[in-house]
C-alpha cells in the first residue's frame, strides 16, 4: 500500500467535507446542542439549589443528565458517521468518479483506506471538540466534571469510527442510501442487544446473556458506549451501587459497574481493522 496515495485520498475526503459545507452543518449542530445543554443544566441546577437539594444529589443528578446527553450525542454521531461514510465509495461508483481515478496507478485498497482515514479524522476531531465543549459547559454551570472526560470522548469517537467503518464497508457493494440505512439498523440492534444483555445480567438469564455477549463481540458499538458511561460516571455512583443490591441498576443502559476490559478495547481496534479488510476485499472483487 502506497502511503502517499492513501494520504492524497484522505486529503481529498477532508476537502470534500469542507467544500460541501458538511463541516459548517456539523459545527452549527454542535454549537446549538452545547448551548441547549448548558442552558438546560443551568436551569436544573438553579431550580434544585432553590429547592435546597443537597449538593451531592445535585452532582449525581447532573452526572446522569450528562450521560443521557452523551447517549443522545452518540446516536446523532452514529447517524452522521453512517450517512457521511455510506456514500464515500458507493456514490463515487454510482457517479463514475471512481473510474477515472482507478484507471490511475491507485489500488482499490488505497482508495478505501484513504476514504476511511479522512472520515475517521473528521469524526474524531468533531467528537473531541463537541464532546469536550459540552462537558466543559456543564462543568462551568454546575461544578460537575466527570472523572475521565478524555476517556469518555475517546470511547465516543471509537464508537462513531466503528459505525463509519461498517457504513464504508456496506457502501463498497450497496447503494449509498441502502448502506446508510443498514448501518443505522445495525447500530440500533447493537444497542438493543446491549440493553437485553443488561436485563439478562439482572435476571441471571444465562442463555440470553450468552447471545448478547456474542453480539457485543460481533458488533462492539454497545461495548464502546459502556466505556463512555464509565468515563462520565462519578465514583460516588459506583460506591452507592456497590453499597446495595445493584441488580436493578445493572439493567440500566446508562450504568456500568466496571470499565470495558482491555481485551475488549484491543478487540475493538482489531475489529475495525478486520472490517476494513473486508471492505477492501469486497471492493476489489467488485466489477466496475
Amino acid at each position: 500500500m502506497n502511503v502517499r496515495l492513501v494520504l492524497v485520498i484522505a486529503g481529498l475526503t477532508l476537502r470534500e467535507i469542507v467544500r460541501r459545507r458538511v463541516v459548517w452543518v456539523l459545527a452549527g449542530l454542535a454549537v446549538v446542542s452545547v448551548v441547549l445543554v448548558g442552558w438546560g443544566t443551568e436551569r436544573l441546577v438553579t431550580i434544585a439549589r432553590e429547592e435546597l437539594v443537597n449538593e451531592l444529589q445535585i452532582r449525581i443528578g447532573v452526572s446522569q443528565v450528562l450521560i443521557l446527553i452523551a447517549f443522545m450525542f452518540s446516536f446523532v454521531l452514529a447517524m452522521s458517521a453512517a450517512f457521511l461514510a455510506a456514500p464515500a465509495i458507493a456514490s463515487d461508483v454510482e457517479t463514475g468518479t471512481v473510474h477515472a481515478m482507478l484507471a490511475r496507478p491507485l489500488r482499490r485498497a488505497e482508495l478505501v483506506v484513504g476514504r476511511w482515514l479522512g472520515l475517521a479524522i473528521v469524526v474524531a476531531v468533531y467528537t473531541a471538540l463537541a464532546g469536550l465543549l459540552a462537558i466543559a459547559v456543564v462543568g462551568i454551570v454546575s461544578g460537575h466534571v466527570p472523572p475521565e472526560p478524555l476517556v469518555a470522548v475517546a470511547f465516543l469517537a471509537a464508537q462513531a469510527i466503528a459505525v463509519l467503518t461498517i457504513a464504508i464497508t456496506l457502501g463498497t457493494r450497496l447503494p449509498a442510501i441502502a448502506a446508510g440505512a443498514v448501518t443505522v439498523v445495525l447500530f440500533g440492534l447493537g444497542w438493543f442487544a446491549g440493553v437485553l444483555g443488561n436485563v439478562a445480567v439482572a435476571f441471571d438469564a444465562t442463555a440470553l446473556q450468552g447471545a448478547t455477549d456474542a453480539i457485543r463481540v460481533i458488533l462492539p458499538t454497545d461495548g464502546l458506549w459502556r466505556g463512555v458511561i464509565y468515563g462520565l460516571e462519578p465514583p460516588v455512583v459506583l460506591l452507592l451501587a456497590a453499597g446495595r443490591d445493584a441488580g436493578a441498576l445493572e439493567a440500566s443502559p446508562f450504568y456500568v459497574g466496571s470499565p470495558p476490559p482491555l481485551a475488549f478495547v484491543v478487540w475493538s481496534v482489531a475489529w475495525v481493522a478486520l472490517v476494513l479488510a473486508v471492505a477492501i476485499t469486497l471492493f476489489r472483487r467488485r466489477e466496475l
Binding site: R15, R20, H99, A100
Partner: protein
C-alpha cells in the same frame, strides 16, 4: 530506460481471445486486437457490442473471464503501466466541489507526475482543450461539454503512451468535435497511441489509421481504413465517349442510367482515367470517387446475420 524501450517496441494494446461474462450475459465473446504505438485506432460497434467492457478490461477496472491481453507490453491490470495510460470515461464526472485545476492536480498526483512539473503540465492541457482562464472555476458549474473537455485534459496529462477515449465528443457541439480532432492529432504528434471508442463514424474516418468493428462481442472487421473501404467503384458521367478502350483501368460497365462504373481502380489513378477519357474526346460531366463510407461498411457488417456465424 528499459521500460521506455519496451513501450516503443511493444504494441500499445494486444489482446487474444479476451472474454468477459457477467453472470449469464456474455459481454465480450472473444476480442483479438492490436494497436501499434503512436497510431490512432478506431474502436467501433453498436451499443452493447462490448466496447466499454473491452476498455474496462484494458484498464484493469474489470478482470477478464478468459483470454489474455497486454497494454504497453505489460499484462492487463498492471499497476505501474497505468502511469502511462490516460483515460476519458464514457460517463465523465469529476468532483463538483473541486476546481478544474484541482481535478487535474489530483490526477497528476495519482499518476505520479513530479510535483515540480505539474503546474506547467496542467496549464498545457487546459490550453489544449480550450479551458484557459477556467482553471480556477468549480467543475460543478461547468456545462457537460466543458466537463468533457476537462476529462480530455485529465486523460492527456503527462503525455501518456496510450490514451483511451470512450466517446470523447458525446457532449460536444460541432465546434467542440472539431477541436477534439485537433487535440487527438496533437496527442498523436506527441507520440501517444490513441484508442478512440466512438459512434461517430465520420469522426473515426477522419482521424483513425486503423479501425476494428466489434459486433456481439467479436471483431467482425479490422484493418487499415483504406483496405476496409477499398474495392470501391468510380462512377463517371461521360458523353461522346465513343469506343475508347478503358479496360486498362479496370472492369468497366455502363449502369444504364448514363453513368460509367469502373471497378478495381486505385484512388490515385482516377485523374489518369479522366485524362484518358478527355484525351479520347469524351466529355466528363461528373466524377464520383464512390468510396464506400465507413458508415456503409459498418451497417453492412452489423446488419449481416452471418457476420457472427
Amino acid at each position: 530506460m528499459a521500460a521506455d524501450n519496451a513501450g516503443v517496441t511493444n504494441p500499445a494494446i494486444a489482446t487474444t481471445g479476451l472474454h468477459k461474462v457477467y453472470g449469464r450475459t456474455v459481454a465480450l465473446e472473444s476480442l483479438d486486437m492490436r494497436v501499434e504505438p503512436g497510431e490512432v485506432f478506431g474502436f467501433l460497434g453498436p451499443n452493447g457490442a462490448g466496447k466499454t467492457t473491452a476498455v474496462k478490461l484494458l484498464l484493469g477496472l474489470t478482470r477478464p473471464t478468459g483470454g489474455s491481453g497486454m497494454v504497453l507490453g505489460r499484462p492487463l491490470g498492471d499497476l505501474a503501466t497505468r502511469r502511462r495510460v490516460g483515460y476519458l470515461p464514457e460517463l465523465f464526472r469529476y468532483q463538483a466541489w473541486l476546481t478544474a485545476r484541482e481535478v487535474l492536480a489530483l490526477h497528476a498526483s495519482l499518476a505520479g507526475i513530479h510535483p515540480a512539473g505539474r503546474g506547467p503540465e496542467m496549464d498545457r492541457v487546459l490550453h489544449l482543450v480550450g479551458l484557459d482562464g477556467r482553471g480556477d472555476d468549480r467543475t460543478g458549474g461547468f456545462s457537460k461539454g466543458m466537463q468533457q473537455r476537462l476529462g480530455l485534459a485529465a486523460a492527456l496529462l503527462g503525455d501518456p503512451a496510450l490514451v483511451i477515449l470512450d466517446e470523447p465528443t458525446s457532449a460536444l457541439d460541432p465546434v467542440g468535435r472539431d477541436d477534439v480532432r485537433a487535440i487527438i492529432r496533437e496527442a498523436q504528434a506527441r507520440g501517444s497511441a490513441v484508442l478512440l471508442n466512438s459512434h461517430l463514424l465520420g469522426e473515426v474516418e477522419r482521424l483513425c489509421d486503423r479501425v476494428a468493428i466489434v459486433h456481439r462481442g467479436r471483431v467482425v472487421a479490422a484493418g487499415a481504413l483504406t483496405d476496409l473501404l477499398g474495392q470501391a467503384a468510380v462512377r463517371l458521367r461521360v458523353t461522346d465517349l465513343g469506343a475508347l478502350p478503358l479496360d486498362a483501368f479496370g472492369e468497366v460497365e455502363d449502369d444504364g442510367e448514363g453513368w460509367l462504373v469502373v471497378r478495381g481502380l486505385a484512388e490515385d489513378r482516377v485523374p489518369d482515367l479522366v485524362a484518358a477519357i478527355v484525351a479520347g474526346g469524351g466529355r466528363v460531366h461528373a466524377v464520383d470517387p464512390g468510396r464506400r463510407s465507413l458508415e456503409d461498411l459498418f451497417l453492412d457488417l452489423v446488419r449481416a446475420p452471418e457476420a457472427v456465424a
